[in-house]
């Protein structure tokens, strides 16, 4: 697969119609979505997020992924030069019916979250018994 040159990507601040009660800002993680014959995979860059601080939630048809950054180690530091801001991540996706909701799985590795959305096996989904 062709690789693009790495560029400084300006972090995108989250814009949402929902109001948040927390004063801190959220960011939209950069995301790749790709699909194979049996799975849809969502890959997100979430640097600074530990495994225990990721929340993957499916409510109705909306998959919401939230990642909280670990602030340990920032205490007593004075910023002198900054190019990016630190913040929690959140992003939502609407899931179609072809996804097997019970089989969704996620893992995080080196700040990259991978969510696997296996597709429902067609045979099982389409079988209708006629009495």
């Amino acid at each position: 697969m062709a690789e693009r040159e790495m560029e400084v990507q300006e972090k995108q601040e989250l814009e949402t119609s929902e109001e948040r009660t927390e004063a801190a800002r959220y960011f939209r993680p950069y995301t790749d979505i790709h699909e194979s014959t049996d799975t849809i995979t969502v890959t997100m860059d979430m640097p600074g997020v530990d495994k225990k601080d990721v929340d993957v939630k499916l409510e109705k048809d909306v998959l919401t992924i939230t990642g909280h950054v670990d602030l340990t180690g920032y205490e007593g530091l004075e910023p002198v030069y900054t190019e990016y801001n630190v913040g929690n991540y959140v992003r939502s996706f609407t899931i179609s019916n072809e996804v097997d909701r019970d089989a969704i799985s996620a893992k995080i590795d080196n700040g990259v979250l991978t969510v696997s959305l296996p597709k429902v096996k067609e045979a099982a989904a389409r079988r209708i018994t006629v009495n």
Binding site: M6, V8, H34, T43, E75, P79, Y81, T82, V86, G111
Partner: protein
């Protein structure tokens, strides 16, 4: 503004505000080469020393290289994204490739005291000020 993270609820807000105040300050001047082709970097001061933090998600530790010489820090590495050939891509926002970046700091670094840590996609490099670069109090006779 030195951050004091005592209250976990306001900690993130305090950090964000402090970082914003320094956003793209001219502290490094034009002394960062390779801007536009590398991961974003923040530099913090802690006492006499500096801490460089860079967001480089998805890089293998062995593909990261940090070199320090005099007052220069060079970060090189490779971020790769591997998807199988038979997949169809719906969305592609993440970037990959080689990066090479050199930052020229305003003080000499003690190369033997440099420590680097890569965790959860964040690289932290602890850069202690060289002994000879530390400020001295001059006695006034």
């Amino acid at each position: 503004m030195v951050m004091r993270i005592a209250d976990p609820f306001s900690a993130l807000r305090a950090l964000q505000r402090a970082v914003d105040e320094r956003r793209l300050s001219d502290w490094l001047g034009s002394a960062t080469s390779g801007y536009g082709a590398s991961p974003p970097v923040n530099v913090f001061r802690k006492g006499d020393d500096l801490i460089l933090v860079a967001e480089i998600p998805g890089v293998d530790k062995k593909d990261l290289d940090v070199r320090v010489k005099g007052n220069e820090v060079r970060l090189t590495g490779k971020k790769s994204i591997d998807y199988a050939d038979d997949v169809s891509i719906h969305r592609r926002e993440r970037v990959a490739g080689d990066f090479d970046r050199t930052l020229t700091l305003r003080m000499e670094i003690d190369p033997d005291g440099v420590e680097a840590e890569y965790r959860n996609g964040v690289l932290k490099v602890f850069l202690p000020r060289a002994e000879k670069a530390k400020p001295r109090t001059v006695e006034i006779n």
